[in-house]
Amino acid sequence: MDMVTAAKVFSDIGWGLFHYIIFYPPVYQFIIIPGLVAALVVVVFMIWFERKAAARVQMRYGPLEISPRTGGAPQLIADLIRYTVQELIIPSAADFFAFIVAPNAMLILSLLPMVAVPMTSISEYWPIPMGYSLLIAVALSTLAPIFTVVMAWASNNKFSVLGGVRESFIIVAYELIAVISLLSVVPLLHTFNLVDIVNYQMSGIWLGLLNPIALLDLFIAILMSTSGFPFEIPDSETELVAGPFTEYSGLIYGINMGGGYIRRWAFSVLMTLVFLGGWAPYRPGPGILLGYFVPSLIVVVKATIVMAIMSFLRAVYGRYRLDQALSLAWEVLIPLAFAAFGISVAEAFFGVHP
């Protein structure tokens, strides 16, 4: 019988903690990369970038005063602290439970697709079996926006309700586009497996090049879903003060404000994997560093660039009217999405498939 030393017990527990909880891939992916922590870091950077980029175009500096040398980069940290310690006002007429739960549920559900995406081709680090991972990720991504409608209804405010109605119109419109254009790669590669999809793109032919219409469609659908310009319709501040978020304050408003970005982050990661080659051209090597961190870093950088392009549109566009956005979605983008699907089928037929 071996001696059970205290040191061994502790090291076993530590190893267990690390292996089964902290680096248990589903948990790790959800909490750290590409989940909550990475998302927060990227969102903080992205809000700063959005403000700085718009400011550059708009003859001004943007956030600067807090630290002129870094271009005002800590501004968002300061904002975060402010939101955290600000007073939380809950209107007496609001539905308390739904008012509090909905934003948090939205935040969590926005990140849920992250438990289904692989960050490397080494099966040891997959969060779930990858057989139908694209389908699962797409399905999970559709859960979050419903809670925006719940928030609007719970706020018991006219502007909120109008914003919530607009949001629900938009959900119905963009989801179909996003789902069809994401799934348009399936007939081409005969697989729902995200790892296979990325591995195919290792050859240098990104699916975005093979099917640019699907890429464009998905790009616009993401903008719509996360109310980015030119589709910033639910919380259009000129006529509806802040849309569904009118009654929110303090930390919960901060969650709401970041919520859209986090959803955009989740979609960007998905888009990177499916259309922009994932961790290609890097081939994951052995070990956790080369096999997991490097490829996931590549994905994060690519997805950040996608988000940066989306953020830059704020400086160029105004917002569409609700019915114009909807008609754009139903009359232009959905036919385009079907066309993209058709292109994939045609490409598969003519043998682009490896």
Partner: protein, 415 residues
Amino acid sequence: MSEGSASGVPHLPGMEVRPVERNVYEVQIGPSHPGSGHMRIIVELDGDVMVRVDPDIGFVHRTMEKLAEGRGWIKNIPLFERMAILDACNTTLPYVEAVEKLLDIEPPERAKYLRALLCEINRIASHLYGIGIFAVFLGHSTIYMWAFGDREVFVQLAEDLTGARLTHSYPVFGGVRRDIPDDFPQNARKAVRYMRYRLDEYAKIYLNNPNIRKRLEGVGVISKTKAAELGIVGPNARASGIKYDVRLVEPYEAYPELDFEIPVFEEGDSLARAWQRVEEIKQSLNIIEQAVDWLEKHPREGFMHDKFWKTAPKLYKDVYEGNIPYAGKYRVKLMPLFATLKVPPGKAAARVEAGRGEIFYYVESDGKEVPYRVRVITPSFRNVIAFKYVMPGHRLMDLPAIYGSFDYFPPEWDR
């Protein structure tokens, strides 16, 4: 929504309780609202379509007409320019003209050109302000910043000319208060050239942007007859095809001698109103060039009516010529009698084309040191009525697209 809202609410003075129809959703846009600026629009929505629109104004009312009855004649000039400080010269000019009619004097030629020059600088600044506010209504923050940044160029010109950025108090009875500084002509020409090329960029990123075009095209259409019936003014009327501009029908100051066009659009929608302002800026730039050329060519004399300048002591001329080091240069000093001016009894009216449209003053004097009655009608006030009759039938998201296209300015219409 309709039943429960009125019950159990105490009826306070000034509170209005009225039934709302079923299936109608009443939204109050304003008064302290990012899209409105101290003005409320009560909108009744049927689905997404506005069925009744009631503009509720008066949140920044300052009783200018009453205050004017208690102040001396010249003291009203700084008062009235606070109606629309970004259009200060245009706003006070008809008052000055009306009083000049009562005094039976006419400013000399150079003063007329100087007034026209500042009027056009103000008009550009005012239009740029309007473009900027309109753009932020549509969510286009870049043009908002650009227009306000480029407006700074013209505010700087006005500052060089008058010594104040916005509240110029520039035209006074019989003349003006400053002559152009020496480096003004070259600065003005640079500003004109800069703005011309900037306007092309505005068109590229804003007016020809498919997103903005889609928002504005065919929205808030006002036909020519409808515009005449509602009596809307200025660029908004001209965008509906009405060939009416006070500079055209009753030219004042130096305008009869200047060569420029009055742009008229016939579409009558929000997009035409937006283009109207761009075209008017182009014409104003032409006028600035001509006025500056004229002022440069002609000798520096005749900036104040002889009645107020002939008897001026030598010191006044020294100040004008800059012989007194601390006093600046090209300042036109006022005779002390301005402080206690008495205007002969009579009634006079004058109108001027301000940035947002025709501004009208009715001035009545009974021979005292203060006016008996001053009636001011500002362009924004006459445009309010359009909201009531044009907006119904449009969608709620068209409200900013129509509201902004009229170039609203609450302090001006509330007076």
